[in-house]
């Protein structure tokens, strides 16, 4: 499966949750598949989805699901120790690990070679880390939400992107409707 197929499959689970989605094609795919006011789309700033989601989870009690990527995590590797030492129980970081920088032309990341993000998350102090195959994402995500523990999911899947339109929504509108959904 590629990322967009996973997102289609888990869209019913995501729909009722606060979701912070990684920059570029992941946000375009989620926006096209099931746009919700509870989705925060990153339009810029490669690497910070996991940090934004962590700040959000620490600031309020609702569950927060971050849809991140292997390339994004590698860009902001300092995030893993911060998550490992601070993540509250309402935080789920789902790393779609397709071994490539999807938004820039599928150039390989180091996770397609020797680098193991699951082991790195554990070494950084993250207590609940699960590695799952693409087909098992839905049940694993439900389990993470029910676990009562901060969870890092590393979802192994194929490289590839769906052709989706660029998000043209104004960032202030994205932020405003998201904040209203958070506060509701």
């Amino acid at each position: 499966m590629i990322r967009s197929e996973i997102l289609k499959e888990i869209a019913p689970i995501l729909r009722d949750q606060l979701v912070v989605c990684n920059i570029g094609i992941p946000s375009q795919e989620l926006h096209a598949i099931d746009d919700q006011p509870t989705n925060f789309y990153m339009l810029g700033t490669m690497g910070l989805a996991s940090s934004i989601g962590l700040g959000l989870a620490l600031a309020q009690p609702k569950p927060v699901i971050v849809i991140d990527g292997d390339g994004s995590i590698l860009t902001n590797l300092g995030t893993l120790p911060t998550i490992g030492n601070n993540a509250p129980s309402n935080y789920v970081l789902m790393i779609i690990d397709n071994g490539s920088y999807g938004s820039t032309g599928d150039q390989p990341t180091y996770t397609s070679q020797r680098t193991d993000l699951t082991a790195m998350a554990r070494a950084a102090g993250c207590a609940r880390v699960v590695e799952v195959q693409d087909v098992d994402t839905g049940p694993a995500l439900k389990e993470a939400l029910a676990s009562g523990e901060a969870t890092v999911m590393v979802v192994k899947c194929d490289s590839g992107n769906a052709k989706m339109p660029v998000i043209t929504m104004d960032p202030v509108v994205i932020c405003d409707r998201f904040m209203k959904a958070v506060a509701s």
Binding site: V20, F40, M42, L43, G44, T45, G47, L48, A49, S50, S51, I52, G53, L54, G55, L56, A57, L58, A59, Q60, N76, G78, T79, P81, T82, N86, P171, V172, I174, C175, F178, M179, V182, A183
Partner: protein
């Protein structure tokens, strides 16, 4: 006056309850003060752009955030300031130790100091420079201004403000 407590008191009085820090020797006292307080949640960051991500999330979660960092961080965070904090129009007070200014003992620090105000000006970031300890009296107004206009705002605090480096 205990300057560290004064700064933390002003942050708390303005509802700032989520602070991330990347350390600097000049900032050690205020970081320690913030870490000890019950009315402010302190989360250290490994890098300043990561810290701004945390602050963006905390803001959307209903908290007033702030970041405490060195001016070298301006070189690290330009993209984050432009495409996250400014693009989504979020408030972010940035208490910045202004290394490389008067009474600086480390020559390399001057190399970023000479770019600091120019970069902040280029980014249209309102910038205040605390040189004397009494300048802290502006902090309360600066914080109110920041959360009025929903912009990142820089407060540069140089070595003279912090009382010099002692025997460093």
């Amino acid at each position: 006056m205990n300057i560290d407590k004064r700064i933390a008191d002003d942050l708390a009085a303005n509802g700032v309850s989520f602070v991330t820090t990347v350390p600097c020797k000049q900032l050690a006292g205020v970081i320690e003060e913030i870490d000890q307080r019950d009315d402010i949640f302190h989360i250290p960051s490994n890098k300043e752009d990561e810290g701004m991500g945390l602050c963006a999330g905390a803001w959307m979660g209903g908290k007033r955030p702030a970041i405490i960092m060195q001016n070298t961080a301006i070189g690290v965070t330009i993209n984050t300031l432009a495409t996250l904090i400014q693009f989504y129009r979020m408030p972010l007070p940035m208490l910045i130790s202004y290394r490389g200014e008067l009474r600086e003992p480390v020559a390399c620090q001057v190399e970023m100091a000479v770019h600091t105000k120019a970069l902040l000006t280029q980014l249209n970031i309102p910038t205040y420079h605390f040189h004397w300890q009494k300048d802290v009296e502006e902090l309360d107004n600066i914080l109110k201004y920041t959360f009025m206009c929903n912009k990142p705002v820089a407060i540069l605090t140089d070595a003279n403000f912090w009382g010099g480096y002692g025997d460093q």
